[in-house]
Subunit: 389 residues, 2 copies
Amino acid sequence: MKKINFDHISVNPMPPQVQEAMISAIKENYGNPSSLNASGEQAAEVLENARRQVAGLINCKNVKETIFTSGGTESVNHAIKGIAFANAEKGKHIVTSNIEHSSVIRSIKRLTQLGYKATSVSVNKKGRVNPQDIKKAITDETILVSVMHGNNEIGTIQPIEEIAEITKEKKIPFHSDAVDTVGVIPVDVQKLGVDILSFASNPYCGPTGVGGLYIRRGLNVWAMFDGGIQEKNKRAGTENLIGIIGMGAAAQLATEEMNKRAEHLKSLKKLLISELPSYIDEYIINGDPENSLQNLISVSIQYIEGESILLMLEDEGYIVSTRSACATGSLRASHVLLSIGLKHEDAQGTIVITPGIENTKQDIIGFLKALKKIVNTLRDISPLYKRKE
Amino acid sequence: MKKINFDHISVNPMPPQVQEAMISAIKENYGNPSSLNASGEQAAEVLENARRQVAGLINCKNVKETIFTSGGTESVNHAIKGIAFANAEKGKHIVTSNIEHSSVIRSIKRLTQLGYKATSVSVNKKGRVNPQDIKKAITDETILVSVMHGNNEIGTIQPIEEIAEITKEKKIPFHSDAVDTVGVIPVDVQKLGVDILSFASNPYCGPTGVGGLYIRRGLNVWAMFDGGIQEKNKRAGTENLIGIIGMGAAAQLATEEMNKRAEHLKSLKKLLISELPSYIDEYIINGDPENSLQNLISVSIQYIEGESILLMLEDEGYIVSTRSACATGSLRASHVLLSIGLKHEDAQGTIVITPGIENTKQDIIGFLKALKKIVNTLRDISPLYKRKE
């Protein structure tokens, strides 16, 4: 049975144009961009072309401010640890939010082993940070503010511009984890006002294991990898040229198709949300209807378990997830869902539906039919549901 | 003009088998190995298959001890910084050698900014470390010994087993940067006795931007990337599955073809060295004839400049390098060549010839003829050569 994929947050399939760019790169057997010979120069040109494509996607005017990394996790670690180390003499306090991705949370946690301290700001029921709470959390010791752009579990988009006004005034470096927004919604580093921005290639249909980091010129940040002089001396190591070429091609395509893709995904999300009451009851749509990713719907279905729904949906031919793939294997309820005030049992009943550009309205209707059947079956055997009645 | 490539240390072209494995992976559009659905499980299987292939190449019996990274530089940074941070309470002293790769040197230099200290042991004229010098350099504060396996500029192979005996006795973690040996000569982590070993995929004809790290079970080392639970919780971040599949295929091929490749490269090296006196005079072959990589010949040609030789050789259709691609752009003489006692002017006259498996004996003879012509031309205009006469 051909499965319908509604788990694009875990991995987006690469479109033919991206595949073809990578396949040509493999056949080309490029030289080392750092070599001084003709084959090295050709490789360096290809690398810089990809950099222009990727920098264009985030409106980074000075393309040297964009470097390539091995993915969103490296970018986030580089940003957070790099700023923390470089600015340790000024202070060791970091301000963040309660709903960050595990790479942010654990990077900061790691730093606490080295004497750093962090204040994590709460979010409202929609998952939004109040910029004034960030302002209040800043102390004389604060050397970094890190707030994500779009949340990977509930889709809420944060008021990055407002936070940036505060960090600019206080002259504190501001990092945003934009892994789930770059290439998905318009991201403009000038307009957002961030100093450093992490992103990855796969959320906009490039290969996995390749990402980018925007570092505003003059920002004091240590390199994560020391060694060669690659990436303008900001990230040592011979480049993953094939992956980078794929990322560049995907960036080009995402720039061209962003509006079309967004319209399509918005229509699928709207259909799903508007039709859902005709299929199931007693559920919660998580997130902020006004500030939300168009490619993500988080639904907490009461009285049943998300894991069971996921497994039964797969039997019916539909793939969803219950949370970030990076957190797979953890049995604890999602910290994001608990942070927006969900009860533990509702958090456990959550599925994350992330349609992709290849999905259709028929896919949504088919999914809703399958979901209805499964919810009925699971509630029939749910002690929670019976007790409620 | 089709160029003859003798600069495989900068980048090795990928053989058809490796290209095909990567191209199939691209077309397959694998899922996320961390996802719990069928497509994730399939991706996880492919990932673990590549891990077995790569672990096999270094005789790592417990495959979980091998993790994937974004290349040799990440592996080295992970090993050195990860051990330094994890063991800081025991001490902050590192022992290394004078001829390490820039990733080792700069990782350690970075740590000195955090209060760590290092002792760098000299090498003999052949570029070999004396294990007894390592022993003498170890103090009560030493928490890491890092000595490379095969040198990337002169090809000297270090007495890793003897050093490991010392570090075992002293109970100090031992890291070896084996980027230029893994897949090129037999590397057996059990036999070498190292605790942690860095390597990359390209030296054995896999893609660039993907590498590996062997971490002996129980070794106390911090992760470089914190976040998701990928790579047995030792390296967060969604994997570069396409690159990893290429690395696995290259490892498989290198395992099968190692002897054949080595014999071929040894015969090319032997031919070049034995014929060289018939073409040019007044040169020095650097390194240790008894303990040396078969794919590297470092020649210091007296009274002339390596950069000029390189440029003129390229005009004649031969590609060589003057040093590590990671150090390109630096005008200083190579620290490796100065460490083996070369005079500054002889170091500047050095070219590094790294034949690959596709090169032939005819290529070597053609190269020698071109070299003779160029050396004569350059010496004709060399003030150093005239003064000497």
